[in-house]
Symmetry: C2
Subunit: 546 residues, 2 copies
């Protein structure tokens, strides 16, 4: 028996499940199980949380036929996969209650069903909208070991792992749909290490991969032995089947076994997350191509590079739409970027359209001063042109607004905000610069002066962003404190920032909720993105200050 | 004692609390308490759920200074209001947990604090994102009676009222922030009647009033005696203090006491809800005025009427933006509506702007057929013009898309969908017709042929909505079944609808999630609006059918 035990292999199926596509996800499960068996000779293949529906299925979980669909899916898996054991996740309704379940399947039979105990209902999560919490621990014998099962959030609280270990588990499979953010990989590892040590039990952590609307699942599956040693890790941002020798985990010591894959530099990690987001949004929604308005500025330059890296230059089209305030430098740089990346490039001047708009509006604007209205009209003309190309060709418009702009409303609704997916939505401007430098280390595609020149929207003569906003180094720090860390305006001032600046910035964040509510979605890469993560009322009498 | 008891008066403070404005809401509480005492000689004044923060405060509940702000607010109330008892609602943090609380205050002291037991986390509600459930029943002696307290959802489940009655309550004050929908008033009454009878206890149900983003609180507070008799009811859609003789409720029989206010016809009720929504969105967000694109069609006609009824003709501006496909009839009718309602009216032809756009785009469109792209450009030019007026004058753009259009995506993003608030967002087209007839019974403002002509977007020659959509009678029935009642496509077909039509409609609903995600908010008037109520992924592989 001992000999047999030492040879057990576990395949981590770090796969990309398409939300709602239950039959398609079953195909993926069956394919992964066959690969795990035939190619790797694995004994057990473990899949991410809610494998069959993808994550998060949102209100699809409320559709009446969900249970029938899941039952059919399970039947097909039980009938097809007989020579390898599986742990898979799915929603399951019984006695009128819906549970977030994991099943341990062996020999074509469901041996045990585990119901997730801890339901996250914070940040981007709404699991209490759908699920009831489970209460039973699952530990069952398998090939001479006691296998325990838990699901995602269960490992973030104490009870489930403690109870499973107490019930005699030799190792615990924890299946996850844990979305990426900058700090998440380290957070997961530290947490799971601590649980493993506290309960002296190895934990196998398998995570989903792929972009789903604003969420990016980064994979990065890993295993920790009872001493808290990460003794196996799968790559981030890479779909695949990754093999673990169970013996290494169960019998491993604190110091032995292979080194885990090194964690990436933050710029590389974010860049890969953005690429994943674009690629999956475009492909899963079956867009053949994308179109981007190039301005010669850094946001559209980085957006273009991400798009090309995500889906290839032949599926990307760039349009420069100059106006009287567009500098020669911008025209040159936009063209240089497009050429360097090898995308289709067109120039559509907007001057004649602008003149017609102003001719129509001047009688209505009589006696009123020139203000940002005229700037917004330029941005909106560009939006109409890009959307025209989108409607005519089926290309998705990618927008280029960064997190700093989305925060303070430095963007035009129906103008530069017009499009289906905002690549940099959760990336502060200071990080956009770092991403540009990083991308150029791979191959020089962004002209250096795009990175070094002072940012400008070029919507008015000699305009600079810093005419209306604090320097981005300051702005982004204030925004990070307020938006991502919930520090109040007075709390930020107490950290040494200028009071007037802080109050102005915080007020801009507060009053621009209406813009963000109509903004395109974009990849979440921080612990607090604008989207499901941050739910503020538009109508609000909250006074800033303490 | 009996003599004293028979004279007790309870004031229902059916007030409009502005979300987040804690000091302002305290002012309202103090004012209402003073009015209740001095004008009505009331002994107790009861306020809606989360009186101090308004409802729903959403992520404002997560701000660090919330507790300090609430404590200050309570101090001010305790210090100021001494000669009348109160029941008010507020969030309260203790031992690291946030509760949705109601306090009974008497003589400037908090006599008891009740923590909401049942936290709704479905439909538009997210209370489990913020609150922990309470577990204690509150019944306390007051002027010879035992007064029980409960909060909103507590009355929708069995335990809280049963426990409070079992603890000896002579009557229960249930404080609410219950949002309006067409069927809600009757539902609330039937439910509370049943709870009162089952537990043989009178229930005083006080509700909030006013619009908060997409939610409309309709008031309609009422009281039910132990026999299930509605023996008091405050009007819907009217802010105010309404007085109840407690004796009538506590000693009332099944048949006695005054008739409750009659419930309104559905058209009148919806119309009032829409007016409330517009009025409060505009005023609470401090817009001085609104601007509406008038097309000569029924949606913009009804929108205009609602806007004028909400904030007055002097704050409403209408703009007709004709194109070559705009009929003479539309021009005449738009002008007639504007005149009948007395609003500022302008005509801005879009032909020259359109020609410039097409001139710019034609080289890019070479060899491609004419399609809806050209129609969308017309709609988007109108959007740019309205937004220009909005930016220049500070007027809010009201959009006019109805629920049928929002469902199937029969609307142009950044075109007719450009604006801050969509008045008819949750109103099916067939109901828009009924609202038009209803509004004309008050005073004839919508030309009859606007109601009787076949609906057309007038974006192409001789276009009719029914060229691309099923007749609205059929469309709306299918949409109601699919969107509001979660019936599957096959389930709808089984009810006798044409399969091809059903599949086409359901598919349109599914694939247009991306449009709705960028749509302006609008008043929710049904049990399933597009908004907080219906949370579907954009990226989805769900197959329609069963």
């Amino acid at each position: 028996m001992v000999t047999r035990m030492t040879q057990l292999k576990v395949a981590f199926a770090q796969i990309d499940c398409l939300v709602g596509d239950i039959p398609g996800n079953v195909d993926k499960v069956i394919e992964a199980a066959e690969t795990a068996k035939t190619k790797y000779n694995a004994d057990l293949v473990i899949f991410p949380e809610l494998t069959l529906t993808g994550y998060p299925p949102e209100d699809l979980l409320l559709r009446a036929s969900l249970q029938v669909r899941v039952e059919k899916a399970l039947e097909r898996i039980l009938y097809t996969v007989k020579d390898i054991a599986l742990v898979i996740g799915f929603p399951w309704r019984e006695q009128g209650k819906l549970f977030n379940c994991a099943a341990f399947i062996d020999g074509g039979e469901i041996k045990a069903k585990y119901r997730k105990k801890c339901l996250p209902n914070y940040q981007v999560f709404d699991e209490k909208r759908y699920f009831e919490p489970g209460s039973d621990t699952v530990v069952l014998p398998w090939r001479g070991f006691n296998l325990g099962v838990s699901i995602c959030e269960d490992v973030w609280e104490e009870e489930p792992i403690a109870a499973t270990a107490a019930a005699g588990a030799d190792f615990i499979v924890n299946i996850n749909a844990s979305p990426y953010d900058i700090a998440k990989l380290q957070q997961r590892r530290t947490l799971v290490q601590s649980r493993a040590v506290t309960n002296s039990v190895p934990i196998l952590y398998v995570n989903m991969i792929g972009g789903q609307d604003e969420l990016i699942f980064d994979g990065g599956s890993f295993a920790v032995n009872r001493h808290g040693r990460v003794c196996f890790s799968a790559p981030q941002f890479e779909e695949g089947i990754f093999l673990l020798e169970l013996n290494d985990v169960i019998h491993g010591e604190g110091q032995e076994t292979a080194e885990p894959a090194p964690t990436m530099a933050v710029e590389a990690s974010i860049y890969k997350a953005l690429v994943t987001g674009v690629r999956d949004y475009v492909n899963k929604n079956r867009f053949k191509s994308v179109v981007i308005g190039l301005s010669g500025g850094i946001d559209s330059a980085v957006t273009l590079a991400v798009a090309v890296d995500a889906i290839g230059a032949d599926r990307v089209r760039a349009v420069m739409m100059p106006f009287r305030y567009t500098s020669q430098m911008s025209l040159e740089d936009a063209e240089a970027e497009a050429k360097a990346l090898g995308v289709q490039y067109e120039v559509v001047p907007i001057e004649p359209i602008y003149d017609q708009f102003m001719g129509a509006l001047n009688p209505l604007f009589a006696g009123l001063d020139r203000d940002t209205t005229e700037e917004n009209i330029q941005a909106r003309i560009r939006g109409v042109i890009l959307m025209g190309i989108s409607n005519k060709t089926g290309a998705l418009v990618l927008t280029t607004g960064n997190k700093s702009e989305m925060a303070v409303g430095y963007a035009t609704l129906y103008g530069d905000m017009a499009g289906g997916y905002d690549v940099l939505k959760d990336v502060f401007k200071t990080m956009v610069f770092r991403l540009a430098w990083y991308r150029n280390t791979l191959s020089p595609v962004i002209p250096e002066r795009v990175i070094t020149r002072p940012p400008s929207a070029e919507l008015a003569p000699d305009q600079k962003d810093e005419d209306s906003l604090p320097p981005y180094e300051i702005l982004d720090e204030i925004l990070s404190l307020y938006v991502e860390h919930d520090v109040s305006a007075d709390g930020i001032v107490a950290k040494g920032f200028d009071k007037e600046t802080v109050y102005r910035v915080v007020r801009l964040v507060d009053i621009n909720e209406y813009k963000r509510r109509q903004a395109p979605i974009g990849a979440r890469i921080t612990m607090r993105g604008f989207g499901r993560d941050r739910r503020y009322p538009i109508t609000s009498g909250w006074k800033l200050g303490e």
